[in-house]
């Protein structure tokens, strides 16, 4: 913990030095202060995408970059942020490492980009939130806004909450609340095995799962609680053998990307007879790994799946994306984050980060998947959640996933107000602009 803080501190100090030089050269000092102009001038708003584009998580990172590029293209055409205001996504490879994230953030600042999106890995998100907070304090004229579209560690909107951070995925408190509410009425769940990645997010999933299961289903036995190194394990079969030995009937995991795909594949190869409750089974590569073996056994909690009848939100977007890239579309947060940013720019009548950040607080809108609200107290997006299970394509469950012949079907729906969880955030805000 202290090492990370030390690194963040050093990094922030470096930013400060670099920032002040840039300022002295007059490179980056738009007329931010003063009265806001009547409407936003036509311009391109650059958004830095800081996520893994190489290493074990490169597949997911590249897929989500396409999500953002595709979404910004669509929203630019609709001029959602006002006439002539366009979003441009600039990719930065953080190799899924917190240290590398800070190096990339320095690049982002040097290039004068003021908006950062990041999501894959709460470790990187925690590093960013720290560094951005410090950078903004020292360089209020070059403030950075952090749009977190997928890092779900609850701390980011509780003990570590920041005015400059906005989260568009439901956090672990919310997702686990939904999962355990669902499990509460399922008597077949008796022996639960928790397996998670050994970093902030995985540890939080394990902690919150034990906490909520203890409250809602005190009879459930925790048959195992394993943490494995992030993105390092190539062979999960020893873990599967352990689950079998522990007689686990249910596996709960917050794993994502290859760490979930390989886990699921090892379970399938070993014929493990257990139900899986996951966060990210819909993410690139995992549906293929699930295949036919996961029918009625694989579940996920998410803010969307392709067969939400009767309205089928984002149906067209998902199909167009698939046609273009031959990959699944699933990250609704790429829509909600860009839409909230657009709304913020429109309300602030400016692209100045401080004004936009204030304007995004409390934004409410009807998204295709339901009512959403950017809660002002902790900057956590409130949105509905679904629990879906893996089933054969057919009837209302019409959209095939990764050409498997299988797809997701709704098991339970949790409207926005149910899926919301309290926060302990004590937010420190900078002075409100005139």
């Amino acid at each position: 913990m202290s090492r990370r803080q030390a690194i963040a501190w050093v990094a922030a100090a470096t930013f400060a030095a670099v920032g002040s030089t840039a300022f002295a050269q007059g490179k980056a000092a738009p007329a931010a202060k003063g009265a806001p102009p009547p409407a936003v001038a036509a311009q391109t708003v650059k958004i830095a995408y800081v996520d893994p584009l190489s290493g074990p998580f490169a597949g997911v990172g590249t897929n989500l970059l396409r999500h953002f590029q595709f979404m910004s293209e669509q929203l630019n055409a609709q001029q959602v942020a006002g006439p002539g205001v366009k979003f441009e996504i600039v990719p930065f490879d953080n190799k899924a490492s917190p240290q590398e994230t800070l190096t990339q953030l320095k690049q982002v600042i040097d290039q004068g980009i003021r908006y950062v999106v990041q999501g894959q890995g709460s470790g990187a998100a925690l590093a960013l939130i720290d560094a951005i907070e410090k950078h903004n304090e020292r360089n209020p004229d070059q403030a950075i806004v952090f749009l977190n579209f997928a890092a779900v560690d609850p701390d980011l909107t509780n003990s570590k909450c920041s005015f400059w951070h906005f989260r568009f995925d439901a956090n672990t408190d919310m997702k686990m609340e939904a999962l355990t509410t669902f499990i509460k009425d399922r008597p077949e769940v008796k022996n639960v095995f928790l397996i998670n990645q050994n970093y902030s997010h995985g540890q939080q999933v394990s902690r919150v799962a034990k906490d909520l299961l203890g409250k809602k289903r005190p009879d459930v036995k925790i048959a195992g609680d394993d943490l494995h190194p992030l993105g390092q394990v190539r062979d999960f079969s020893p873990y599967i053998a352990k689950m079998r030995a522990a007689n686990a009937d249910t596996v709960i995991t917050g794993n994502w990307g290859p760490d979930l795909a390989l886990l699921v594949r090892a379970a399938r190869d070993a014929g493990l007879n257990a139900n899986f409750y996951t966060y990210y089974a819909g993410v690139l590569g995992t549906p293929t790994a699930i295949g036919a073996a996961g029918e009625n056994r694989m579940r996920q909690v998410s803010y969307w799946h392709p067969n939400i009848a009767p309205s089928y939100p984002y149906e067209q977007v998902a199909q167009d994306f698939k046609k273009r890239f031959n990959e699944e579309w699933y990250a609704v947060s790429t829509y909600t984050s860009l839409m909230t940013l657009a709304e913020g720019i429109k309300r602030a009548k400016s692209t100045d980060p401080l004004r936009v950040a204030y304007a995004m607080e409390g934004v409410k809108m009807s998204a295709p998947h339901g009512e959403i609200e950017m809660r002002a107290t902790d900057h956590q997006l409130l949105q509905p959640l679904w629990i879906s299970s893996w089933t054969k394509v057919g009837g209302p469950n019409k959209h095939d996933v990764e050409k498997t012949g299988y797809t997701w079907k709704t098991e339970a729906a949790y409207p926005t107000y149910v899926a919301s969880q309290p926060t302990s955030c004590q937010m420190k805000r900078p002075a409100r602009p005139q």
Binding site: L53, S54, G55, P56, A58, G59, T62, N198, D226, L227, H228, P229, Q232, V233, R234, D235, S237, P238, Y239, A241, K242, R244, A245, P258, L262, D269, A270, G271, L272, G285, T288
Partner: protein
């Protein structure tokens, strides 16, 4: 409980045998030419990618033969036109040459197949659990069994080649007395070239069977590379039998270590010496074996280097 231990052991042995396939080529090249081939793990990765490409075109079984063959050719070319030229300047330039080569191969693979994992799948004939083991209550994938069979087959083939054939005799003789073998009219540089090609082919074969058992991605060279060095150092540089024992040891250590909940605190408690949670070392001593499992192979490496620097079955005294 017995079933669980047995299946855990099977996973460990199958992983160990894969490591052995890799280590065999590396240790063979080292014992012969004194070159620690840093590009060996990259050959493994390349073997997996080539096998993936061939399996999409012609199916898995063709790939199983074609990928090692291509790696053999590549190995021969690298030795003939690269390593042999660098050789005259000594071992350090050779080392640096293979080091650079490893990066070039990984980067090339990324250019051709991308940075993400490719969908290289287990052939459908070998999908599913082994029936007779299932009858005993152990679920073990057929493909793992196949992997073990390939490794054991390879081990037997190398052993026969080295001890029962003429070329094997020449190779063994060239190991210890290259000048005399040359004086007897054998082309020692060509023997070196064939050994390097053969070692690369073995890495390629490991890539073919390892690539779809796990994941085929650019990072696979890096993840396995360090472990393979551990295997050959622990086994004893240049010792095939040593590499075999060390590979199984590391495989079993991985398999059992990964899932063990054992910790020093639990051990002490079971001995009737419970430790108070507020004592200084408590956070360290509660670490379970599974949490430190990734470090275990390197711990073995360090211990071996301290206690027996020549490795388990090594003969060199340097």
């Amino acid at each position: 409980m017995l079933e669980a231990t047995l299946s855990q052991a099977l996973y460990g042995v199958s992983y160990g045998l894969l490591l052995f396939m890799l280590a065999a080529g590396l240790t063979l090249i080292f014992s012969m030419m004194g070159v620690l081939n840093f590009a060996h793990a990259s050959f493994y990765m390349l073997g997996a990618y080539i096998a993936y490409q061939f399996s999409t075109w012609f199916g898995f079984w063709i790939a199983l033969g074609a990928a090692p063959l291509m790696l053999f050719i590549l190995g021969v070319l690298v030795e003939r036109w690269g390593l042999r030229r660098v050789h005259k300047w000594g071992h350090v330039p050779e080392l640096l040459f293979t080091f650079g080569l490893s990066y070039i191969i990984v980067e090339l693979a990324q250019v051709i197949w991308g940075r993400a994992a490719v969908p290289y799948r287990v052939p459908s004939e070998l999908d599913g659990p082994v029936a007779w083991l299932q009858a005993l209550g152990i679920t073990f994938p057929q493909y793992r069994m196949f992997m073990m069979a390939v490794a054991v087959g390879m081990l037997v083939a190398i052993w026969l080649l080295l001890t029962r054939t003429r070329i094997g005799l020449v190779i063994q003789a060239a190991l210890t007395h290259p000048q005399q073998v040359e004086a007897l009219g054998h082309n020692v540089p060509r023997v070196f070239m064939l050994v390097f090609g053969g070692g690369s082919a073995l890495a390629g074969l490991a890539g073919v069977v390892g690539g779809n058992a796990f994941v085929t991605e650019p990072a696979m060279a890096g993840t396995v590379g360090a472990i393979v060095f551990v295997v050959i150092v622990v086994g004893g540089m240049g010792s095939l039998a040593g590499a075999f024992i060390a590979a199984l040891l590391i495989g079993l250590l991985e398999s059992f270590g990964k899932v063990s909940d054992l910790s020093v605190v639990k051990l002490l408690a079971s001995l009737g010496m419970p430790l108070a949670p507020d004592s200084t070392l408590y956070p360290v001593l509660t670490l379970t074996l599974s949490q430190v499992a990734p470090v275990l192979p390197y711990l073995v490496l360090v211990l071996i280097l301290i206690v027996r620097p020549k490795g388990l079955l090594g003969t060199r005294e340097d």
